[in-house]
């Protein structure tokens, strides 16, 4: 492989979504030689689909709002396995990060006094849960993600960030010491494979919702960073925690923002009953997403679902009136007409809980440094490897993310990683260079596909993987089902290792990309499945029929999935915020 071209950067950021571009912006401003490597043009990243907003205590809707209240909600929302130092960092740094976005030009909606518009979202409270519903989600109509992503791209242009657009990262390159010193990447347009050398490699590759058959996620959300890190032998944290968004459009899976319920919409069953009043008497439709999703499934299972097959419920918005819908939720009206053939000013939208967000991911500290465990179970920093955004598990979302916290996570921790890498580079980072054999081993996977001469098709195997995950690891889970799922996945892994890439051409070969993505989906799916089987309790998004209660004695812990042994361990949750007292675990009701 000595003929392979190499590119050298101070920092390479893999992924051009919100987190990656926020990190890149910080580094570009510092003058470090940075590149963003993205498999799609950056504004096609999945951040663009975020709708409702970015939750942050900027004290606009309520001048007395306090980031500590936001932190309390976040910890409670995560069912107490949220790391409290990370939540503290996110909620307290948040306002700065949001104001920066506004200064960059993000077109937030406004209140009459000219300040940023904030709407109520699920799980939000004032005064540590005692002061009723808060309105803390800063919004640009219902296109906040789009506005945020474009703003970040624009500001990266302004600061002359180098973009490797439509490049696909194949695998991480590790040196003899086990540090990450770059990656193997492929230019999609030409098919050229290069060795990217870098002192800091940031995985900002987003989520992997495509492991499920029904998801709100973009087709590109295949967990590429997670796959790369797992193949490199690094552990994953809380991979069993997958958020099912209450309101995916029935059939299409397209997201309908929680902002609809924030603006006053609510869910009804086939009898027209506002059933959330029964499940969450106080917060009702604005309870945590896991709570609402489970309630919807209960309604459906108990025969009160809507439609011919009784397999969905309705989101009622018509009572909000045309003006609110046009002003505050224009994108939703559009999506609903296109994908549900329902005009929300007249008819309810058929919705069903749909896979939406991966709370788990690469464990990191608040600086984005990836973490592994030594033989005694102590945290150990992985040299050269960083992660931020959905790919990372810092963990501010714990077992269930609150709406609007993902965009905040992106900008706060993208920024933090950028700042940390800048200072680390200033202090000087020296790692051993990768040897020929280190590079060879990172090339193994792509070589395998390129040399394949027979076997099953990628498309078929992907469908199978998605249906295994959908059936065994959905909203409700149980032992026997999951065991069966794990077994099926192990067998599927063998078949994927033998699968066939028919088209070996170089130029814009999307078949090769889909093959490489399938490997990543497989890694994510298996990590999810094995971790889910291991966590014998119900907490947040992880809900088991056979263990219906939260078990704080054994599982007030992060799960750690170790890919080489395919074993699950535990990691302590951080209960030590720096500036305030610990939020002690309480029974979680809404």
């Amino acid at each position: 492989m000595s003929t392979m071209r190499s590119l050298t950067f101070d920092a390479i950021i893999i992924g051009g979504g919100g987190a990656g571009m926020r990190a890149a912006l910080e580094l570009a401003k510092s003058g470090k030689k940075t590149a963003v490597l993205s498999k799609v043009f950056p504004t096609r990243s999945h951040t663009v689909s975020a709708q409702g907003g970015i939750t942050c205590a900027i004290a606009s809707a309520d001048p007395n709002d306090d980031w500590r209240w936001h932190m309390y909600d976040t910890v409670k929302g995560g069912d107490y396995i949220t790391d409290q130092d990370a939540a503290e960092y996110m909620c307290s740094e948040g306002p700065k990060a949001v104001f920066e976005l506004e200064h960059m030009g993000l077109p937030f909606s406004r209140f009459e006094n000219g300040r940023i518009y904030q709407r109520p979202f699920g799980g939000q409270s004032k005064n540590f849960g005692e002061g009723g519903q808060a309105a803390r989600t800063c919004a640009a109509a219902d296109r906040t993600g789009h506005a945020l992503l474009h703003t970040l791209y624009q500001n990266n242009l302004k600061n002359n960030t180098t973009f490797l657009n439509e490049w696909f990262a194949v695998d991480l390159v590790k040196n003899a010491d086990g540090d990450v010193v770059g990656c193997i990447a492929m230019c999609i347009e030409t098919g050229e494979v290069v060795h990217v050398k870098s002192k800091a490699t940031v995985l900002a590759t987003g989520g992997a919702g495509r492991i499920y058959a029904s998801t709100t996620n973009a087709l590109i959300n295949t967990g590429d960073g997670i796959g790369m890190a797992l193949r490199a032998g690094f552990p994953m944290q809380d991979m069993e925690m997958w958020q099912f968004h209450p309101t995916g459009i029935y059939g299409a899976g397209v997201l309908v923002t929680e902002g609809c319920r924030g603006e006053g919409g609510y869910l009804v069953n086939k009898d027209g009953e506002r059933f959330m009043e029964r499940y969450a008497p106080n917060a009702k439709d604005l309870a945590g997403r896991d709570v609402v999703a489970r309630s919807m499934v209960m309604e459906i299972l108990e025969g009160r679902g809507c439609g011919e097959n009784g397999d969905h419920v309705y989101l009622k918005l018509d009572h909000l009136g045309e003006e609110v819908l046009n002003k505050r939720l224009p994108g939703i009206s559009e999506l609903s007409k296109i994908f549900a053939h329902a005009d929300p000013t007249k008819a309810p939208i058929p919705v069903v809980p749909t896979c939406h967000y991966m709370m788990g991911g690469i464990p990191t500290n608040v600086h984005g440094q990836a973490i592994m465990q030594d033989a005694d179970g102590n945290d150990q920093i992985v040299g050269g490897l960083f992660a931020c955004g959905e790919a990372a598990c810092v963990s501010v979302h714990g077992a269930n993310r609150l709406g609007g916290n993902s965009l905040l996570d992106l900008v706060v921790f993208g920024r933090a990683a950028g700042m940390f890498i800048e200072s680390a580079l200033n202090e000087g980072i020296e790692y051993l260079d990768a040897s020929e054999s280190d590079i060879e081993s990172a090339m193994k996977r792509i070589n395998r596909w390129n040399e394949s001469s027979g076997g099953e098709s990628v498309a078929d195997l992907k469908v199978e993987l998605q249906s295994i995950m959908q059936n065994a690891f959905g909203v409700f889970r149980q032992e026997d089902n999951m065991q069966e799922g794990v077994k099926k996945l192990a067998e599927l892994r063998g078949r994927i290792a033998e699968a066939h890439l028919v088209d070996k051409s170089g130029a814009f070969n999307t078949a090769r990309i889909e093959a490489l993505e399938l490997d990543n989906l497989m890694e994510v799916a298996e990590a999810t499945a094995i971790a889910a089987l291991e966590r014998k309790e119900s907490r947040g998004a992880h809900s088991r029929y056979d263990y219906p209660d939260r078990d704080d004695v054994n599982w007030l812990k992060h799960s750690m999935y170790f890919p080489l042994e395919k074993k699950v361990g535990k990691r302590d949750v951080n209960f030590k915020p720096k500036t305030l007292d610990t939020f002690e675990p309480k029974i979680r009701t809404y």
């Binding site: 900027i58 406004r110 703003t151 559009e334």
Partner: protein, 236 residues
Amino acid sequence: MSMLQVSIYRYNPETDSAPYMQEYRVDTQGRDLMVLNILEMLKAEDTTLAYRRSCREGVCGSDGMNMNGKNGLACITSLSDVVKNNKLVLRPLPGLPVVRDLAVDMGLFYKQYERIQPYLQNDEPAPAIERLQSPEERDKLDGLYECILCACCSTSCPSFWWNPDKFVGPAGLLQSYRFLADSRDTATQARLTDLQDPFSVFRCRGIMNCVAVCPKGLNPTRAIGKIRDMLLANAT
């Protein structure tokens, strides 16, 4: 009759000396699918077919293409919107070099976007909180900031076909006006100076192809008119 006839522009620079149209037949089982669904079904059978796609809900702007003669996004264009006589013809966006099959080289398009300095410029020091903006001022950005850079408009514009290196094109101009209209931007004068030549803005002939194809229902022609008004007010 549920077998849909699909004819797709094919070109692989490594193996084809010239582009050609390939015929497929797809069993839609009478469902009113999106064009992207059809492509995904075909891709599962013929993996060599190349196109871009990402969000599949019309907000990322990846899958702009020419469907039965009209530019649009494959993911939010249903068969009933475009198919006539049971036939669907898919071509890459016109006027840009083809990379492979339905994927075009968007370089010129992006370059024009970058040219208009698509970022807020404000030379006053930023306050500790957000810059204030009244709802009325913010309303002026509606219909502008929603652009998804899919290039459906610019590649349906003859002026952009003839002068893609000099005419900014409807998408770039829409974004240019997005910043001209923003009460927080203070670079209005420099922006206008950059646009007063005979090509950047004035190649627009107002034929409104851009408006007819915009999948987000935006109106670049109106924005261009507003820029012209601003140029006129500025120079007279």
